[in-house]
Amino acid sequence: MNQLSLYLRFPFVQYALIVGTLIALCSSLLGVTLVLKRFSFIGDGLSHVAFGAMAAAGVMRLSDNMALVLPVTVLCAVLLLRVGQNAKIQGDASIAMLSVGALALGYLLMNLFPTSSNVSGDVCSTLFGSTSILTLSARDVWLCSVLSVLSVGAFVFFYHKIFAVTFDEAFARAAGTNAGLYNLLIAVMIAVIIALAMNLVGSLLISALVVFPALSAMRIFRSFRAVTICSACLSVCCTLAGMLIAIAAATPVGATIVAADIAAFAVFSAVGALRERNFL
């Protein structure tokens, strides 16, 4: 405990907590929509694209990885949305192609042009996040804060539209809502959040951050608003708990956060099952 409060005085720990909270908030808000729209595979595909872009940025020795990762991920999100709408069956395959391709090329690049002597360490930290969350600069924190606030703001502003488009796209379009635009907005926001979350949990574990809080909340709550709010709170709590445990126990940050999410999912599932029994 004492040690933890000591750690909490370091600015890099504070940065990590701020960024972690913001990313957890954004990813869980959009996660509800993503899960319900059956878009979660897009999130998964995009996280691999972000890995490839991160590797490329490392090879190009960019001073700021985000300058490459962010635009590439957003671009791929837009592309995937287009492809997915045009051809139902090939949409799946194209996402698989893109994500596996990005993963393979990223790994290849990292091996061909190693930026440090420890290639497997680099790969591991890009895939699983490891400690990069603890090496954030004030600038990273600013970028993340601005983008998160924009995402949350857009989500709140368009909340009713997003609900309508998620619940029944045909009706929303018939009623004059520009569903294509909102789908695009959702895809762009998720791409931004995935690019940001690369630092927190690494590319392999991002999907967990998106999917688990939403699924947990859906075990118990039965209205869209309740599910959204619960998912956001749960995600922030799990992420904070996971980070504090990781710092205190020196475990990998990303994996600890996901473990906390899994534990919450187990608890919510159990409560949901018990409730169902009682009410039957």
Partner: protein, 229 residues
């Protein structure tokens, strides 16, 4: 000018035509019933009118200053996911989004409208319930209330009474008649209940082997109408 006119419309899927050479028009305040056998293309016509799919040929013109966000629509089937968490109130309110425009919240009037429509369809007691836990007929009523919230000039209904009990069916027909007569809302309804269609409609569109469009009296006089009644 007519509120909605279709000229030489041709409908189909993947290059295969289902209905061809469909010409009719709907004026403000009309009550049009579309009848025809299963698979004759009624739902496809409605989706085309709404712009959810493109016609294979022909033209749909919209007049009288009718805008997209003034149209209420009840789909025949809604591909709502089995596990979607949404309360009745949330769904009915989402019918008001055309009115709300870009405003990020619903106004007091819109909330009242949703409450009134829930009351009309006997949903007030269910307003906090989850949509997926309702019976088929109750779900149909929720979607109807949502369609009523979206309606300002034109209401399109695809088999609105399927799955409703006789009492609610009769109430619904009365409700639609009142909307049409008192508020001047144009109604386009797909129905297999030909006797009710003939009782309430001002115009009939029959699609199938032979296409018929005209007023109810003309339909009754035509051979097809004679056979149907």
């Amino acid at each position: 000018m007519a509120q909605l006119s279709c000229e030489k419309l041709s409908l189909g899927y993947e290059g295969h035509e289902i209905v061809g050479d469909l010409t009719f028009s709907v004026n403000a305040g009309d009550y049009l019933c579309i009848v025809g056998e299963n698979g004759s293309g009624k739902s496809t016509l409605m989706k085309t009118i709404l712009g959810l799919r493109a016609p294979m040929g022909g033209e749909i013109r919209v007049g009288d200053g009718l805008r997209r966000n003034e149209i209420g629509y009840l789909p025949q089937q809604t591909a709502v996911q089995r596990d979607f968490p949404a309360s009745v109130r949330e769904i009915v309110l989402s019918g008001c989004q055309g009115r709300a425009g870009l405003r990020p919240f619903y106004s007091r009037d819109e909330k009242k409208l949703a409450a009134d429509n829930m009351e009309k369809l006997g949903l007030t007691a269910l307003s906090g319930r989850c949509y997926r836990d309702l019976s088929g007929g109750q779900q149909q009523r929720v979607l109807l209330a949502r369609a009523l919230c979206a309606t300002r000039k034109l209401l399109l209904l695809d088999e609105p009474v399927s799955g409703l009990d006789p009492k609610v069916t009769a109430e619904l027909y009365l409700l639609i008649e009142r909307l049409n007569a008192d508020d001047g809302i144009t109604v386009i309804m797909i129905s297999h209940d030909v006797s009710a269609a003939l009782r309430y409609a001002s115009h009939i569109l029959h699609i199938g082997q032979r296409v018929f469009f005209g007023t109810r009296d003309e339909y009754l006089k035509s051979a097809k109408g004679g056979a149907a009644t």
